[in-house]
């Protein structure tokens, strides 16, 4: 079995005023791949192309997943199924019927008896907290419930590759991790692949192995999530996975004098930066803002009077303006 799912070569998807996807060339391997980017970056367009919902205006998309991974003998009745951004639900079907018809179309033969189908349906409904809404039609569901149903239906289809466009986007943040756990378990159990788009860096970090960063229809970065997190190529790419401190090579001697001098810029994530109270420290706090998991501190370098915003994990005492501090690199 090949690891390659898709290969895109100079793919363009034309839009009204500009290209929605602009000369994109990339490969997508088996596993979990996140597509990340700002609103309007082209995430949904890329997923629509991969799903075959839309066709490229030019360029070639090779779908290696189709023949290589699918087929009942490989345990996957479908090569691909998806969770579109609007849920793509069927207005006339109840929640339960959404899952039942998917089973009826594809899985009944491989699963066996009706009882088993009902059992799996019940389990999925329970896992996505939809049991009490199983007789409701999509119009009667909240946005969150619609999102959950769309994901449940995709899992019920049990494809070789799942495409999810901002899955669980409308679900409350408290319960979202438990639903992601269901998805994760499904992928692990069945050996399926997932390509999903999201705005949330935390989801990318926790769920994906690879990442594709898009901006204005173009690929900004493609590679491993860990690499993008630790050694991003530029500040914009770094920002896709959350806050980061970016030190230009020339200013490293000012802000991190103990760091070995190199010609490269340095990116430090909040957990790698330490701001500690130090009466003899070379910096003074101008302002301090606590934002839950990290803090934003405006620092002034006393010798040069240069100022910089530092994002870090607050440790120990809460800082305040006027305090003398030192800056450390924990990585």
């Amino acid at each position: 079995m090949t690891d390659l799912l898709w290969e895109l070569n100079q793919v363009v998807l034309a839009g009204d005023s500009c290209n929605r996807i602009d000369a994109v060339s990339l490969t997508i391997d088996a596993g979990v791949t996140a597509v990340i980017g700002y609103s309007g970056a082209g995430k949904s367009s890329l997923l629509n192309l991969l799903a075959g919902m839309e066709s490229p205006s030019s360029g070639v998309i090779s779908n290696a997943a189709e023949g290589a991974h699918a087929g009942p003998e490989k345990g996957f009745p479908l090569p691909l199924y998806w969770v579109p951004q609007d849920g793509g639900l069927w207005p006339q079907l109840t929640v339960r019927r959404h899952l039942e018809v998917v089973f009826a179309m594809n899985l009944r033969d491989s699963i066996g008896s009706d009882d088993e189908c009902q059992e799996i349906t019940d389990k999925l409904l329970g896992q996505f907290d939809l049991s009490h809404r199983q007789q409701a039609v999509p119009a009667a569901l909240s946005k969150g419930e619609q999102s959950r149903l769309s994901v449940a239906r995709a899992l019920a289809a049990n494809p070789a590759v799942l495409l999810m466009d901002e899955p669980l986007a409308h679900v409350d943040s408290v319960r979202r991790p438990q639903y992601w756990e269901v998805i994760r378990e499904h992928l692990k159990r069945n050996g399926a692949s997932l390509v999903f788009s999201t705005h949330e860096p935390e989801v990318v970090i926790s769920e994906a192995g690879s990442v594709i960063c898009l901006n204005e229809g173009r690929v900004m970065y493609t590679g491993l999530v860990t690499e993008l997190y630790d050694v991003p190529p530029d500040p914009q790419a770094a920002s896709f996975l959350g806050p980061a401190n970016w030190f230009a090579a020339g200013e490293l001697s000012t802000w991190l004098p103990e760091y070995p001098i190199k010609n490269d810029d340095l990116c430090l994530r909040p957990e790698s930066v330490e701001v500690t109270q130090d009466e003899n420290g070379g910096f003074e706090i101008l302002s301090f803002r606590f934002i839950g998991s990290y803090a934003e501190t405006d620092l002034k370098h006393l010798s040069s009077s240069k100022e910089k915003k530092i994002i870090h994990r607050p440790i120990g005492n809460v800082h305040h303006a006027g305090q003398r501090v030192s800056l450390g690199n924990l990585s």
Binding site: L78, W90, P91, V101
Partner: protein
């Protein structure tokens, strides 16, 4: 000629004309959708496409009556003339349907989600067909059925174009038979035969009725619109020219001379004095038009409230019950209510405005529901509430808030009421069959006189019947805008 022959002609014509109109309306609608980038041009094009809906059939028939008379020796030419006039009217209707119901509750993504499950089984294909009908085909189907019903029910234009036998329509056949003294029971029996075709058309509409379900993404296949823009513009110009410009051109100058004749003799002051004291024909016609507007306005207000109620209750069976009579057409409604109001229970109110208002209300209910849906789309309650919140601030923000509410809410309801009143005012079948004995609505007088030739005063009366309501709407707009709102101190 038998009713069956007339029905066959009407059915054939309605199927043909509506089918031809469907792709044309798609081209025009796509062009209008693309024009949204330029707001002013979009409004202009949309107005040009929809204006034919507001031209009374009677005016169209009257304008082209002389043309039909010249074509008296060619039955085919007369039929073609009538079909073309219907085509352009139906085109406007179908564009309106596409604009109002621009998205289906089944999104393209939902349909594709089903396609991904394709396994070639019969159940998959059956479900796919159902998805197609409820998804991409839903709006074209509603547009086609709406067009076919309108075409089948059309009466006024056909009646005025029919110099000899053609155009042959069941509606004219039935109206003439009833006017010639056919017993009401016979007329109802004849009408019931026409209902067979209408019920066949109505059943799919009932299944495809718009629901409050989540609105899916709009049509994404608009990219080809720019390529078809010359065709769209040609269609628009042909429709607008045929139903608006040509009638204005041919009737305009005669109308002005006619108004002069209606005002009597003497200088302007003397004519004004005669008008104000109600001693010239203009004053009499003015009075007659005002009296005709009154029941039409009452019906339009009533039907709009009814439509809001039906929409708010959101029960499919209630919606079906509400729109079904109106979709049967004015002739069937008028004959039915004529029978109903002759029963002992309602006989006491037979000679009043009530039957006329009731018929107009039932007739307009489907259109009123469409207008309410349109207003919901154009003025979401959240937008109106957001504007309302500004009023609390006082000062300039409050003024902006009031203006926004006027633009978002009040003026749109005024237009909706006016449009419905306009359609009520110009319906000949309801007015002629259900009017009280001592009251002659202006449309009945016009309809009768239009059969006997073309005079300047007749053209002037037609012009006044169109212009006076328009003037009153403007006055109502000014007055309503100045009225204090409930929340104003």
């Amino acid at each position: 000629m038998t009713l069956e022959t007339a029905l066959a002609w009407s059915i054939g014509r309605s199927m043909l004309v509506t089918t031809v109109a469907l792709p044309m309306s798609l081209v025009v609608w796509r062009y209008i959708s693309v024009c949204e980038r330029s707001r002013r041009f979009h409004r202009l094009v949309a107005a040009a496409a929809l204006t034919p809906l507001f031209v009374p059939d009677l005016v169209t028939g009257f304008t082209y009556r002389m043309t039909s008379a010249r074509l008296i020796h060619s039955e085919v030419a007369t039929e073609v003339l009538y079909a073309v006039l219907l085509l352009f009217r139906i085109l406007a209707l179908q564009v309106a349907v596409r604009m109002i119901l621009r998205s289906s509750s089944l999104s393209a993504e939902a349909l594709y989600s089903w396609k991904l499950l394709r396994n070639g089984s019969t159940s998959w294909w059956l479900s796919w067909l159902r998805f197609e009908v409820q998804g991409p085909l839903r709006i074209p189907l509603i547009a086609w059925i709406g067009g076919a019903l309108f075409c089948f029910q059309e009466f006024e234009t056909a009646a005025l174009l029919q110099i000899d036998r053609h155009p042959i329509t069941w509606s004219v056949w039935l109206f003439d038979a009833h006017a010639a003294g056919e017993p009401l029971s016979h007329s109802l029996l004849f009408a019931s035969r026409s209902m067979v075709f209408q019920v066949i058309l109505l059943l799919p509409v009932i299944l495809l009725l718009p629901s409050r379900g989540p609105q899916a993404s709009t049509d994404t296949s608009l990219d080809s619109a720019s390529r078809s823009s010359p065709i769209a513009l040609c269609i628009l110009f042909a429709a607008f020219g045929t139903l608006i410009l040509w009638p204005l051109w041919t009737n305009g100058t005669e109308a002005l001379s006619g108004i002069r004749a209606l005002t009597g003799h003497g200088n302007l002051t003397q004519r004004m004095l005669l008008f104000l004291t109600g001693r010239n024909d203009l004053a009499l016609r003015f009075q007659q038009i005002l009296y005709s507007i009154l029941p039409a306005t009452i019906a339009s207000v009533a039907v709009l409230q009814l439509a809001i109620g039906v929409r708010a209750l959101d029960r499919p069976w209630l919606t079906v019950l509400a729109v079904a009579p109106g979709l049967c057409g004015s002739l069937v409604i008028s004959l039915t209510l004529l029978a109903v109001f002759q029963t002992p229970l309602l006989n006491a109110v037979y000679d009043s405005w009530l039957p006329m208002i009731a018929a107009s209300t039932l007739l307009m209910l489907p259109r009123a529901l469409l207008l309410v849906v349109l207003l919901e789309v154009l003025s979401p309650s959240t937008s109106i509430h957001s504007a309302g919140l500004l009023r609390v601030a006082g000062g300039a923000a409050a003024v902006h808030g009031r203006n926004l509410i006027w633009q978002l809410d009040r003026v749109r309801w005024l237009i909706a009421t006016s449009v419905l009143a306009h359609w009520c005012l110009w319906d000949v079948a309801v007015a002629s069959m259900l009017r009280p004995v001592g009251f002659e609505p202006i449309v009945v007088r016009l309809y009768n006189e239009m059969h006997y030739g073309r005079t300047e005063t007749l053209v002037a009366m037609t012009f006044l019947a169109l212009a006076i309501p328009l003037g009153l709407i403007c006055v109502a707009a000014v007055v309503w805008k100045r009225l204090p709102e409930k929340n104003d101190s």
